[in-house]
Symmetry: C2
Subunit: 337 residues, 2 copies
């Protein structure tokens, strides 16, 4: 149970560091602005608490990697805060772009305040991420801090590229599974890669080990997204209860959908006829499985996870934190929700 | 004519540097995303050209300051690109927040594409600014680069604070002129301060000179905004032609409006009755002048400009670039549009 032990130590430290960074925004006259960020981070407002804060996977990856390289994870805390703030900046803007009403079970920032203030809230989280990264200077040489900052900025550029592709895919009808990989590589995998690379850099790993950790993060991100897409069609909440939760209803061009369209069979013909109704999702999910898409999706997620584990073996992480990284990878692929 | 000569040298170099930085976004599949940024920067699409690019005042301030400190302005080019990208990121988001249809005479990004893509375009410009700042490493020690990056990040935090205040003021009816200064200090003056401080830092100025340059930028920004507010009511385009251009019609809580409200006279009584119609603006502008508000506004702008000039004298800028900085300050306050 290395992961559980590690999380018990690391999660409170991550939360404290995030709160310290975001508190910099709080100045005279700025309390209502600070409240918008604190609400989104899950600290204040109705429904505040661990559920509203999310899993903090990205900062965990940073700190576990630094620790697995044999260094003190405390010296990487500003980077851990930075990646979580980057993730949350992208969520706040994503919720506006998708007109999503709920995030982690609570009204989204644009819904609770308004769209203009929500854009500014995302911008504020982003600026705080940049500031946090520069604070690594307390524990690392300036050259290392700049290298870490540059990795994070490149990662953010990828996030905006992935977001561009994701939004432009919504109206396209000519997509194939080949279009899928560049989008999730940029939108999901880039940040996980960046977390592991920065963690390794700050942990003092050499270039080659940094590259292996980066590769671990990348495949972990790809596995995570394909698994997410699997659950979006065959997961419990997609099949039972609110079938409006199914990715088939939202029309999302997820991995199984693009594979199914490529089959050119019954699923592709139904898809071409127009939006899927909630009451059709169970039968369509079953049909996709019969066309072999369910198995292919699961195999693809497993394959990406195997590649992640192989990269992690090459990186050769040490100690409890190293074991926790293997556990974390296994847990992400085994999850049912 | 130092300023004109300096601009002839610096503006093409600024434009080339900006184009180099933004080109980093252009990857396979990313051409349409790149086009959104290039359009906003005034390089492509209908109406592209110098008019669409704006005056590039902020990067000019960076380079002139570096040069006036006796250093080669070329070593500050990435910082010049960074401040202009920060300015433009804020404009793209501002146009969404204000639902403005036109920017520099052309359709805004959200109008030409859509709101979700425009949010992402602003985010992309912001990320590129961060990346550009790290490229100062080619010419400066890592410690200096980090210091410059930190100044820029702090400036961006101020921009989002100012934006928050500006948006929250829209619905408030209890504002006084005391509420005006923190808003424009953050929204307008912070970035001009940051430009001058970073330019001085990269130019090798000592702490005290950096502080004087920073102070110059701050007062220049305050003078600029008060003058802008003056022109928004008594400028040519506010009084003649399209009187819908008057700040009185948009209901903007500008400096003269807040001063006028504080007078508690005829203007304040009319304002309390509801929105101003375009056909009323000329008479109301005249009435405000009779209440002494026009003179007070002009005197305040002049006073801020005098403070800017005094700070610049203390900074003691050298050579042609130094003369150009004095000229630039004079030009900003003398402008009629």
């Amino acid at each position: 149970m290395s992961l559980k032990d590690q999380m018990e130590t690391l999660l409170p430290a991550i939360e404290a560091e995030l709160q310290r960074v975001v508190a910099q925004l709080d100045r005279p006259r700025m309390r209502p602005y600070y409240e918008m960020l604190a609400y989104h981070m899950g600290w204040t407002g109705e429904g505040a608490g661990p559920e509203a804060q999310g899993k903090r996977i990205r900062p965990l990856l940073v700190l576990l990697t630094t620790s697995a390289c044999g260094s003190d994870w405390r010296t990487a805390l500003p980077a851990a805060a930075a990646v979580e703030l980057i993730h949350n900046f992208s969520l706040v803007h994503d919720d506006i772009q998708d007109t999503s009403d709920l995030r982690r079970g609570r009204p989204t920032v644009w819904k609770k305040w308004n769209m203009p203030q929500a854009i500014n809230t995302g911008d504020g989280l982003f600026v705080l991420a940049n500031l946090a990264a520069t604070e690594l200077l307390a524990h690392h040489p300036a050259e290392t801090v700049l290298r870490a900052a540059r990795i994070l900025h490149e990662t953010c550029l990828d996030l905006t590229r992935g977001q561009f592709l994701d939004m432009s895919y919504e109206t396209r009808t000519d997509l194939t599974v080949e279009d899928y990989w560049p989008m999730i590589a940029a939108k999901t995998a880039a940040l996980l890669s960046g977390c592991c690379q920065v963690g390794a850099l700050l942990g003092g790993a050499d270039e080659s080990a940094q590259e292996s950790y980066r590769s671990f993060g990348n495949y972990l991100g790809l596995a995570f997204q394909v698994q997410d897409d699997f659950l979006g069609i065959w997961g419990d909440s997609a099949l039972t209860g609110k079938s409006t939760d199914s990715d088939l209803v939202s029309g999302k061009k997820s991995f199984p959908v693009l594979v199914g369209l490529g089959r050119g069979g019954p699923f592709a013909r139904r898809w071409a006829e127009g939006p899927i109704r909630p009451e059709e999702t169970a039968a369509l999910a079953e049909g996709l499985a019969e066309e072999g898409v369910k198995m292919h999706t699961q195999e693809t997620a497993d394959q990406m996870n195997d590649l992640a584990i192989a990269s992690l073996r090459t990186a050769d992480p040490q100690g409890e934190a190293g074991e926790a990284l293997f556990e974390l990878a296994q847990k992400l692929i085994d999850r049912k929700t």
